[in-house]
Amino acid sequence: MWCRQLLPLLALLSPALAGVQELWWNVTYVQNANPDGLFERRVIGVNGTWPPPPIEVSTNDSLLVHVTNNIDQLATLHHHGMYFNSTSWMDGAMGVSQCGIPPGQTFDYVVPINTSGQVGTYWAHGHSNGIYVDGLRAPLLLHSPNETYGADYDAEFTISMSDWYHQEQPALSKAFINIANPGGAEPIPNSALVYFSQNGSYLPPIPGSSPSPVTSAVGFNENATLPFEPGKTYRLRIINLGAFAGFYFWIDGHDMRIIEADGTDIQEQPVDMLSVSVAQRYSVLVTARNDTSSNWAIHANMDTTMFDKVPSNINPNVTSSITYSTSSNLTILSPVSSYTTTNDSALVPIDIEPAIPPTNTIQLAFNFQTMNDGTNHAYINDVVYNPPVVPAIMSALSLGENATSQVAYGPYSFVINYGDVIDLVVQNGDTGKHPFHLHGYKMQIMNRATQYNSSDPSLNPPLIEGQANPMRRDTVAITGGGSVTLRFVANNPGAWIFHCHVEWHLESGLAVQFITAPLLIQEQAQGRVPAFMFEQCSAIGVPTSGNAAGHASATDLSGLPLGPWFQELGWLAKGIWAMAGCVLTTVIGILTVVWYSAMGGTISEEEIEEQVLQRIEAKKRKGKFFGLLKKKT
């Protein structure tokens, strides 16, 4: 416990006069939450409330979150999109950067925002199994004293959107990765949620609505509204903190201009509709109308194309509102004829970062398949990701010289050198859209193919080198059958996971991990890794040193959980033996038929006649006997 008191002090001591924003998050279950008004369920909240409070931090400050786990499963908190400046053990990704906080213990997450140079819209969420799906997620906003567009808006709101399940994530995961679900149909959300926040607190429901008591302080969906004043311009920060569904977002009667995506300020670009995949964020400027005669609908429609089916009893479309005057009526325009996808390749960052020619190209082809255990899993380059026994960061810290061995981290790992320029060519063999997120970096979107195996350059264009300022972000959606080339400079030592942010897909293995500059990690970690990290591993019986499997070896991975693997089809040994057995018994059967009929013991015609006669006689005798009896009586 000493570290809990010491760490803020350390943070204060380090770089000059930076402040520390300190939060105490007690992760708890909250019973009977009913945000969509359809179903009461247990959720995972913070300090007994749900949703967890939005985090808003000045870029002058560093953030320190004391996360105490008061639920009955492992918990972590991941600050999505943060660089952590070589301290990737603060990243909060279970199995990569830590073992998971055991129930009753506390992890102090230090997020060095003041030194990361980051600004904009991010979010924080649990990253252990799927606990964020049950509610542990909140907006994380980094406010700079000199915002790029600071002069262009009068006020800002944060719009949180997410799909919503009525069952808890562990049950859903169990049904998802199950022999009864060989097609890998993801759990279909029961509804969707939209709610608003401003200055670190959620906006209350519309007066007069009757929200469920547990979440009565927050307005959801049709009970949520943004108060607009005529003529003013607002910055809306839109976050998809869902588990599965992408959203299409637009506002009736108002134009939007994108100014930020995933914390990258960009040149203003008008847009009718935003497509926001899971974990993506956008900021848009919206100028209020000059008349208050009507209130206007805000639309957040789930992208149902990824759903196995859309049950008739779910409404995938949420309508909230902008209120100019409580006395005005709500205008909901007729539904849009088609959805448009936001082309993030066309966005232009304000801070210019030209593309540097790559030193390494890593091709990652992924798809889904029913595996040899009958369950459906994702695989990248034919390997299903399983969290290693020892989190990768601890392997890197403990393996010494062997830490540079890629094999040591498991077959889903890539060791990259400091300063390497990595091109990730991510090929989507599936039909759905997958939002991939790289921890610890922003990636430049270098190229996109709508059909990666096509020879048609319009579908599969060649990569153009020398791009002056490609768009960069931390979560990139890859369309079905398409590919994306993502470039990043390996300048952030640490163990970083690259995964599909659809929670179900991460659980089914759609991930790889990068270990950037293992020897530099060791160097920079000297005396900086908190002891509770190791203590918490020991508390749950997880080794804290050695390779992925916990052995002090570069190559011995015995005991490492791997698989499942592809099914082996065709004539395997057991099939051949079985077929041989079938043929053999058939031959024996046929020979028996021959033996019965034609081999020995033939009954002659006379014998047959005799036998038949005997039978008839026997019958007749019986009949006569009865007949005699009848006659006598």
Partner: protein, 399 residues
């Protein structure tokens, strides 16, 4: 797919088999007609038969020597008339059983076919199980068909003579009409039951062509076998046919188990059932799978479908389907060994069945008798004392 739906192999074989037996009966009857008219009935020298055959003998006695030419014409006319009766009776029996079968199929496919739309695999499994068991019984008993001619000859002669005894001469006029009608009707109904049992799980369309082709083949084969072939040729023919039928039966039995397992798997998948089907990962249950080929699916591929109908082929074998196939053949082996043993035609190690003992004693006695015969030439004694009524013996006598 389409061909399978239009032609049911198992129905073909069932109809084929039943019509073959009907042909045997009719051919026996036709032979009987000639015997009756030509007065060969005397050959039945066994005391019981001769006794009961008196009216027929009387009929034969009408013909007096001297009117030989007109007698031959009368006989020919009589034979034709009686043959007509036999054919008419058989035809009507066939017609009635056809009508019964058609009615059954009509009722089944219009009233009951909705039953299995929902749990298709479950119903398919049940029907395949019924069919495979029926085929088992039929295939096994078919091997005795080479003894049917003799059996029916005695049976019909007996029935024929009893008609005279019991109901007087008047009914005797119709006996050659009624007997074939009843026997054909009996075989027909049997065929209807079998066809019905096998057809339960099959599309209605698959029945008529298979049944008609089976009937035609049965009639033709029956004709040829009894016109030109010996009993041993028939035995070979029956061995081939039985093996074919049992191959189908084993396939059906295996398919039944497979269908039950598929049904259980579909139940497990529940709403996800649309995702399954076809080949490859996800289309089948990996637990208990023995082989799975990403091709050659009998449900989607015509040629493999034929392979399935005849040999029970599946591209996705389970432990259940393989074991049940093996089990079916083992059942055949056990049943046949048991039957041959019970019939007294073989020993099992040192064991001998009751029939076996009887047969051994009989043949020993016969050997003794022939030895005696050679010594004493005591013909009447052997004819009366021997329980074996041989066809060869009377001819020997008449000669």
């Amino acid at each position: 797919m389409a061909a399978q739906n239009l032609f049911s192999v198992s129905i073909f074989f069932i109809v084929f088999r039943e019509s073959l037996e009907a042909v045997i009966i009719v051919s026996v009857l036709l032979g009987l007609v000639e015997q009756i008219v030509h007065g060969d009935t005397e050959q039945f020298s066994a005391p019981q038969i001769t006794e009961q055959y008196q009216p027929a003998n009387n009929n034969g006695e009408i013909t007096t020597p001297g009117e030989e030419e007109s007698d031959a014409t009368i006989k020919r006319r009589l034979i034709r008339k009686l043959r007509m009766q036999v054919f008419a009776g058989a035809g009507i029996g066939l017609l009635v059983s056809f009508a019964l079968g058609a009615a059954f199929i009509a009722v089944w496919f219009t009233k009951a076919s909705d039953l299995w739309l929902k749990a298709e695999n479950l119903w398919e499994g049940i029907f395949e199980l019924i069919a495979s068991l029926m085929i088992f019984v039929m295939g096994i008993t078919m091997l005795k068909l080479d003894r049917a001619k003799a059996k029916w000859r005695v049976k019909l002669q007996r029935a024929f003579s009893e008609q005279h005894v019991d109901s007087g001469v008047r009914t005797g006029k119709w006996v050659l009409f009624i007997l074939p009608m009843i026997t054909v009707l009996r075989e027909g109904i049997e065929a209807v039951v079998f066809v019905g049992g096998v057809a339960l799980g099959q599309p209605a369309k698959s029945i008529p062509i298979a049944a008609i082709v089976g009937l035609a083949c049965g009639l033709i084969c029956g004709y040829f076998i009894y016109q030109f072939a010996s009993r041993s040729t028939l035995t070979i023919f029956l061995i081939v046919m039985t093996n074919l039928i049992l191959l189908i039966g084993a396939g059906l039995f295996s398919k039944a188990v497979w269908s039950f397992q598929e049904n259980a798997f579909n139940d497990l998948l529940g709403a996800d059932v649309d995702d399954s089907g076809g080949n490859g990962p996800g289309s089948y249950n990996v637990l208990g799978s023995v082989w799975h080929l990403d091709c050659c699916n009998p449900e989607t591929d015509l040629s493999w479908g034929i392979f399935n109908a005849i040999l029970g082929w599946t591209n996705s074998a389970t432990q259940g389907s393989v074991l049940s196939y093996v089990f079916y053949w083992l059942m055949v082996v056990v049943a046949l060994v048991r039957m041959k043993f019970k019939e007294g035609r073989t020993k099992l190690l040192w064991l001998e069945s009751a029939a076996g003992t009887r047969r051994r004693l009989a043949s020993e006695k016969q050997a003794e008798d022939t030895a005696d015969e050679k010594g004493s030439h005591n013909l009447p004694l052997s004819a009366t004392e021997s329980p074996v009524i041989s066809e060869a013996l009377p001819t020997e006598i008449t000669q």
